[in-house]
């Protein structure tokens, strides 16, 4: 049952990813990306990380992608006539993917996975404990970063009126 769902989600992810990069209309591409983020959250659920799946849904699929879709719908760009298929990019992609697959397979066959895994570190409480003790500095710095970005975005969108 779980592997069946995993294959469905993976197929959906690959399909929506291909649609995103091959889309002729950017707004449709953004909607495809939103769907792929939702499918990714589903995959996180399958891999027994429900807290991270919920976070992904709230932040990524629920706010960031809505912002993308809003901006693209506001722009109302024209459809591209055809998507220019760059052979060089695809050659690099396939080559690097083959290299990565080789490396991953090497890793898989050389080291055995651990027995009796317990996924207690994926729960909300454990994450919060780690965030506030070991990684406190980075947490605060990200808060500062988000503040700077919020101010920066407001400044970027305001300069128009003063010109």
């Amino acid at each position: 049952m779980e592997t069946f769902l995993f294959y469905i989600f993976s197929a959906g992810l690959l399909l929506t990813a291909f649609n995103t990069i091959f889309c002729r209309n950017p707004a449709k591409g953004a909607l495809n990306l939103a769907l792929s983020m939702i499918l990714l959250a589903g995959l996180f659920f399958l891999m027994s990380a429900p807290f991270l799946a919920g976070l992904q849904l709230i932040i990524y699929a629920g706010a960031v992608m809505v912002l993308f879709v809003m901006v693209l719908m506001l722009f109302n760009l024209k459809n591209e006539l055809f998507v220019f298929f760059k052979k060089r990019a695809w050659i690099w992609t396939v080559f690097l993917f083959g290299l990565c697959s080789g490396l991953i397979s090497l890793m898989a066959f050389s080291s055995p996975p651990r027995e009796n895994p317990s996924y207690s570190f994926l729960e909300g409480k454990q994450i919060a404990l780690k965030l506030f003790t070991e990684y406190l500095l980075i947490f605060e710095m990200i808060g500062l970063l988000l503040l700077v970005i919020a101010i920066g975005v407001v400044v970027l969108s305001r300069l128009d009126k003063e010109e």
Binding site: G54, L57, I58, A61, G62, V66, V69, G124
Partner: protein, 371 residues
């Protein structure tokens, strides 16, 4: 899903029953809204067809099915997808909210099969991190607005949809932050555990002394009145109800993002809105009003009085339904009493007033827990 076929089939039947009861409750809510609005406006609502005008529901169901589909010829797939997307997120969240206490089904024999002890949950699915899940899926409701507005290929629906989406994501923040206080208090992300901790009399320990107020229940609203208020306002804004009704503003934007929709597609939008209202009411009860906690009694006295687990769950379900309809009445009451916000007032309220107060509420709760 379950250990053996009996449990799987019972769970499947439960999922369908919950889903169809949610959709089937919508016409009842439409009728209730007309009667409540009539009550507010000192007139009688529909009272001609059937007792209390209940056959009006039948008329309301048949009328949109017979209407002409006035969409122009070549509409894209997204145009037909948007009303469906309006119903899916509330339906999914509705399945994760518990309606009553789970009861244990002891091992019994059924046509020669030995079926083991189960726990029957009154939810479609039982999640351990249901709070984050509910918040995440209800934030996907903005997509149906955007897709509906954009695929209508016309200016007014597009603007209505963009304003609606902006309002939606602004109030999602206040929604999530006002729940932080509840998470501090009850230390769990599971709905059932949050409800369980809200049973019994109000008791907390402040500065080393223990306080017990036995005349008040241990509900969230008494610990966090500010948080409850912020959560309630944000829920009304998320459902696009009046006073946050600008996306559907009848007088200003023709009809907002569902201008180009008629007949069944429009009804699907209304089903989505009323479902979202039902989900909001249920969430409000679960977090701040004790879920299915029967206030003057307590669950133990009821259990001793009734004698069996199953009957207790039925009585608690009844209590939940009472609170649920009470909150739906409050939603409708607010709708027919307040005028609509202007767009800049709306954004002002969301960002400059609700968000700082929600943060302050979280800070206050943290201080009080520390003391």
């Amino acid at each position: 899903m379950g250990k053996d076929f009996f449990e799987i089939s019972i769970n499947l039947i439960k999922i369908f029953v919950i889903l169809f009861s949610m959709v089937g409750l919508v016409p009842l809510l439409v009728w209730a809204e007309r009667r409540v609005s009539a009550l507010m406006q000192n007139r009688l609502g529909p009272n001609r067809y059937g007792p209390f005008g209940l056959l009006q529901i039948l008329a309301d169901l048949v009328k949109p099915l017979m209407k002409e589909d006035f969409s122009k010829g070549n509409k894209k797939l997204l145009y037909y997808l948007a009303p469906i997307l309006a119903v899916v997120p509330p339906a999914v969240v509705f399945g994760s909210i518990p309606f009553s206490a789970p009861f244990q089904v002891p091992a019994f024999e059924f046509f020669g099969f030995d079926l083991g002890p189960y726990t029957f949950y009154f939810q479609s699915f039982h999640l351990n991190t249901a709070v984050v899940f509910a918040l995440g899926v209800s934030s996907l409701a903005s997509y149906s607005l955007l897709i509906a507005g954009w695929s209508s290929e016309s200016k007014y629906p597009l603007f209505g949809a963009l304003r609606a989406a902006a309002q939606n994501i602004s109030y999602e923040l206040a929604l999530s932050l006002s729940l932080v206080g509840i998470l501090f208090l009850f230390n769990s992300l599971d709905f059932l555990e949050i409800i369980e901790k809200q049973s019994g009399p109000l008791s907390f320990s402040l500065l080393g002394k223990d306080f017990v107020f036995s005349f008040l229940p241990n509900w969230g609203v008494f610990y966090q009145p500010l948080g409850a208020l912020i959560f309630f306002v944000a829920l009304i804004a998320e459902c696009n109800r009046i006073p946050f009704d600008l996306p559907e503003a009848e007088a200003e934007l023709v009809a907002g993002y569902h201008t180009e929709y008629g007949g069944i597609k429009l009804i699907l939008f209304y089903i989505g809105e009323y479902s979202h209202m039902m989900v909001s009411s249920a969430l409000m009860i679960v977090f701040y009003f004790g879920g299915f906690d029967p206030y003057p009694f307590s669950q133990e006295t009821l259990l001793n009085f009734l004698g069996s687990d199953f009957k207790l769950s039925l009585v608690l379900f009844f209590v939940f339904i009472i609170k649920f309809f009470l909150f739906l009445f409050v939603f409708m009451w607010i709708r027919w009493s307040l005028p609509r916000f202007r767009y800049d007032q709306l954004m002002d309220l969301g960002w400059k007033k609700l968000l700082p107060w929600a943060l302050f509420n979280a800070l206050l709760t943290a201080w009080f827990i520390f003391l």
